[in-house]
Symmetry: none
Subunit: 190 residues, 4 copies
């Protein structure tokens, strides 16, 4: 019930902060517990192991990210407008949740993300949305006739690198964000 979700969320948030600052290995369960305001043993009531915690946290964040990306999306929008909406929503999510970006990136490039065949449902949701969208673009002749995996990955990586630049080097205005989206669009459109 609500109590359980509250605890899980507290543990998630604590973990994000700490992994962000110190990496997976630099984040002991005892610290996660303390920052979450629970006892070390308590975490194990909600998660089987540290690995499980990380994997579930990954899903949790992916889910929030996908939700953010879908804001204002409708079938009735023009294809290009949907693209811009997706791209900017997605990018803004990372900009407003830098810890999430950091965690997801660490996860993706760690043995967790690479080895585990743990493409859970949230991953699946994201992938299917992107697949659907790119396929449609290609079929209707709006996008270049390139493998849709490639297009998807290309778009995704452009979002992430833009958000990283924003966070590390300098803040970008909304205008500049749109500029970058344009570059991407110019690249993929036919």
């Amino acid at each position: 019930m609500a109590r359980e979700l509250d605890k899980k969320k507290a543990i998630f948030e604590s973990t994000i902060q700490l992994v962000n600052a110190n990496g997976f290995h630099g984040t002991p369960m005892s610290l996660i517990a303390k920052k979450a305001g629970v006892a070390a043993g308590t975490i194990y009531l909600y998660f089987d192991s540290k690995d499980t915690l990380m994997i579930e946290l990954y899903s949790y964040l992916r889910c929030k990210m996908v939700d953010a990306m879908l804001v204002n999306d409708t079938d009735r929008m023009e294809y290009k407008d949907r693209f811009f909406n997706f791209w900017i929503n997605h990018c803004r999510f990372y900009i407003h949740h830098p810890e999430a970006l950091c965690f997801l990136e660490q996860y993706t490039n760690s043995p967790y993300g690479t080895q585990q065949s743990s493409l859970q449902k949230d991953d699946a949701r994201f992938e299917s949305i992107i697949r659907e969208f790119t396929r449609t673009g290609i079929k209707t002749g709006v996008l270049k006739d390139v493998d849709h995996h490639l297009l998807g990955m290309f778009i995704h990586s452009s979002v992430i690198s833009t958000a990283k630049i924003h966070l590390r080097k300098f803040n970008m205005t909304d205008e500049e964000l749109k500029q970058v989206a344009c570059i991407v669009w110019d690249g993929i459109k036919k």
Copy 2:
């Protein structure tokens, strides 16, 4: 002399493989030593600590990557041709050295890469080459008038995501590689 370099190289190669498979934390020094065919203590004759080893290995790989990227580059080439040469060299390096790609990505997204102000000379070399190239493109009106950091990061991330796709999903022909380079070029050119 040569002996020292041989040992260092053996340790580097061992480390790349293992970090690749198990991550930084999943790779104990004892394993690195065993795989490299030396005693555990021997590593400390060549590197001050595990951290130092990782940092130096990062430099080592960046160096190899930059070298690979510069193959066949000349001032006399057309700007666009230079871009394609850079992009494809760079991408091929990762495709032919998947462990290098994996290590560099893990490193970049770990506390090593984020916190340590260890932008060593090799990083500097890479950055300056890219900076020089994008600035020229912008100045001569070939590229869009966007912040050069942004262009650089955009190009870099496209290379990496393409290589990852190649390695994880399916092998791409040289033709397809060129296609992706085209997408990027279309995006950044004026």
Copy 3:
């Protein structure tokens, strides 16, 4: 509560025995743990490090020693009687706790005791008692007019060397103990 003190004491006693037998360096934490009946990691719940353990053990023993020295001491005693009481109490403490003597001497003559500015409160207590006592003796003309540090150190070292003799060479009767106290008194009295 009591549990914590029990554990600490068990660790202390274990450490005293082992350092006594094998020296600081010859005493690994693993052995201390085993002899104390706890796991290696448990020690670190009570002490930050091996150094901390040694430093706290030093304080612990100094405290016990000072307590023993003060037994039967009153303001109403004659100065000379107080001296004999101090001296013999002090000496007897070491004779009855040879491991304590051994540990304290090793500590004092090791980098721990020499370098660390760890003159904690217990040291301070001992020093202030001695200082007070010698100063009074000098001021009232009972003791020779010599720097009080010197007198204090002189007395202290006589106690220690007497205890060592007792333990190493042969057992001394209470009568002989008093004889030595007399030698010291004859030396320092005016």
Copy 4:
């Protein structure tokens, strides 16, 4: 020959300095070698092990100490004058060679000094000189009729504690040194 003695001496001096600063355990053979200007392996041409080195160094220093103590000593001196000569020579040796004092004290209070039945010839020489001297004093009725071991140890410890005070707290004039010798003399004389 001379070469061998030079090397040994260099190693001895290096060891004294380092043990003085860092203790036995804090002094690796590699450092001893470097400071002595030889290779690590070379030490093992002259000493069987680190323990052996320490034990021989102890003898070496005891020997120097005894030599220093005997300066200006003759049978023709008065007993009391001989005592003062011994005491002050001995004390001055430590004052002029603080590293020697430090090393000897560390050694004496370590497992080396306590456990090893290694009362070598130099120790024997020192002990026999003191024994002879105290026995004579007692027999001729100059000294108190107390066990001669006790007197010897008492004197020795007074020297050491005085030297330590001199080195740690404040420099003492020759006059003050004589004062302390007087205290000791007043203590032991009949």
